[in-house]
């Protein structure tokens, strides 16, 4: 027996279209999964039971009357830095614990207009940068789900919902996707509007979908992407047909494996899995060659990332400087450090971005896409936040964003997809990156890979156990209309 909560977006839409299942049943299934599992996973910060049930009923009606939108009846969750009208939007911070926006973020409006049913707001690191002590990785509850979109990654991996939205400034979509064994998309800078999303850093902030398949991510990005006049960084290009072209052959596509930066420090099991993924695509007709990225030896991407984040974080939060004590301890450290960023360092970082872009430009003369690790290691334990590379342990934050922040800095689209498991049974993710605005190629390559592999279909043991509970007929009848969980920002082991 398959629970509706276990189905992907495309599978659910097929069920709804054929009237074999309804959005009301799908939402009920996801709410049940949250009810049974989220006490251990802690992905959900605000649970919108009554609202979701009402909207699902309307979606069910729209399927009956032929008025269904492209995501009609699909349950989803939003990272809680994304504004939702009439629903608290906390930023994962005590400072905004009572913030109830009057207007939803543009991407939330678009998802709602497409028929999506918002069922939960999800845990985030404080303002996408501080910490989140609560969310666990569904593959091993003693382990980290990464961040800052930790709730968004864990919720999808735990089959609590088929779609969530995260944000990525240094790797906060790609990291949780890699650690939790799901798909995450950081589209081209400016492709997804950020209006209504609490900013961490306007130069590097991106938003994007997190799903369990590349096809699902294409369906979601098709709705979310596109010009927004309210976002000064919004790109004006028309949105490609991500879904229509996803089945095109990968024959002749040129894939590059960088010889610099990405694999310099990388767990051997992760590197092997990424190279095998490139090999699978080669077997499907793509060509694979090595490409250099020489500027990474001169300009340390981590220095660019942190300098820009420090400077813009200081500016964004200056309005709350007098409320420093209300921030969580990790964000406080960042905020105080950010006070000492000089203007010349910040401007150097902004200008040096382009040197890395020129490396990518040269690489994309020779290849169409790059395959690189999602994260350099698999998920660390909550009580020992390190990146284990072979037998060496690195402080997590020293290298965690190494394969991801460079994508935010350069601005190219990248998609993380599961490509295997390590010897502990933890998911490994690879990224496929392409030229700016060529998200279609990322979807095409990942989808081709997923048609001949099944890593994206693997189910965490926690969820497998839940399936037997459902089969035994467990069902709750008493749910609150809304459940607001507490914000927790202290960590046992400092991230920063």
């Amino acid at each position: 027996m398959t629970e509706l909560a276990d189905l992907s977006i495309s599978e659910l839409l097929d069920e709804f279209r054929a009237h074999r299942a309804s959005p009301s049943e799908a939402v009920e299934s996801c709410l049940g999964r949250i009810e049974r599992l989220d006490g251990r996973v802690n992905a959900v910060l605000t649970w919108l039971v009554e609202r979701a049930t009402t909207q699902a009923r309307r979606s069910t009606q729209r399927w009956m009357t032929g008025q269904a939108g492209p995501l009609e009846g699909i349950p989803y969750g939003l990272k809680d830095i994304i504004a939702t009208a009439g629903i608290r939007s906390t930023g994962g911070s005590a400072l905004y614990k009572d913030n109830v926006p009057l207007e939803s973020a543009t991407l939330a409006q678009r998802l709602a207009a497409a028929g999506g049913v918002l069922i939960a707001k999800l845990y985030t690191f404080e303002f996408a940068a501080g910490s989140n002590a609560t969310t666990s990785n569904p593959w091993d509850l003693d382990r980290w789900a990464c961040g800052s979109s930790s709730g968004s990654g864990a919720a999808v991996a735990a089959r609590e919902m088929p779609l969530s939205v995260g944000t990525d400034t240094g790797g906060s979509i790609i990291g949780p996707a890699a650690y939790c064994g799901i798909v995450g998309v950081k589209a081209t800078f400016g492709r997804v509007p950020r209006t209504g999303i609490m900013p961490l850093c306007w130069t590097l902030d991106h938003a994007g979908p997190m799903t369990r398949s590349a096809l699902d991510a294409a369906l979601a990005l098709s709705v979310m992407a596109g010009y927004d006049p309210k976002d000064p960084s919004s790109g004006q290009r028309p949105v490609d047909d991500y879904v229509g072209g996803i089945d095109r052959t990968v024959q002749g596509v040129r894939i590059g494996l960088p010889t610099d930066w990405f694999y310099d420090i990388c767990d051997p099991e992760v590197e092997a899995a990424c190279r095998r993924a490139a090999g699978v695509l080669q077997d499907l007709g793509a060509t694979v060659v090595e490409v250099p990225l020489p500027s990474t030896k001169i300009v340390h991407p981590h220095a660019i990332e942190l300098t820009i984040i420090y400077a813009e974080l200081a500016s964004n939060h200056d309005v709350n400087l007098e409320r420093l004590d209300e921030y969580g301890p990790e964000f406080q450290k960042l905020f105080i450090r950010s006070q000492f960023t000089s203007a010349d360092d910040y401007l150097k970082a902004l200008r040096a971005r382009h040197l890395l872009q020129l490396d990518f430009q040269d690489a994309f003369e020779r290849v169409d896409a790059l395959i690189v690790p999602g994260m350099l290691s698999t998920a660390p334990r909550h009580d020992h936040l390190v990146a284990k590379i072979g037998d060496t342990e690195y402080p997590l934050l020293d290298i965690a964003s190494r394969p991801t922040a460079i994508m935010d800095i350069v601005g190219v689209p990248t998609l993380c997809f599961p490509v295997g498991f390590d010897s502990l049974g933890l998911p490994i993710g690879a990224q496929v990156a392409a030229r700016p605005y060529d998200e279609s190629l990322c979807f095409r390559l990942a989808h081709a890979y997923q048609k001949v592999t099944d890593f994206h279909k693997a189910v965490p043991p926690l969820v497998q156990d839940d399936a037997s509970v459902v089969m035994a007929g467990h069902r709750s009848t008493t749910r609150p209309a809304i459940l607001e969980k507490p914000i927790v920002t202290a960590t046992k082991d400092s991230v920063w």
Partner: protein, 76 residues
């Protein structure tokens, strides 16, 4: 003036002076935490500071990166 890579780390007093100049009263414990983060980051920051960006064309300004993205991965 000659630019060299820094050979000494900033001290708590350096940061305190910068804070005072900005009218910020930061507790010693917090200042020490900020200093620790800065020191940890210093090597990478020095690398960034050592990057030479040309005055003459092809000149790079912050908006160059955005234009490169908008133009599909190259400059017009």
């Amino acid at each position: 003036m000659v630019r060299k890579l820094a050979t000494t780390e900033p001290t708590e007093e350096t940061l305190r002076a910068m804070a005072v100049d900005r009218g910020l009263d930061i507790e010693p414990e917090r200042l020490r935490a900020a200093l620790a983060m800065h020191v940890k980051f210093r090597h990478e920051l020095d690398q960034l500071r050592a990057v030479r960006l040309e005055f003459l064309p092809p000149y790079i300004e912050p908006a160059t990166a955005v234009r490169w993205i908008e133009n599909g991965g190259r400059l017009p």
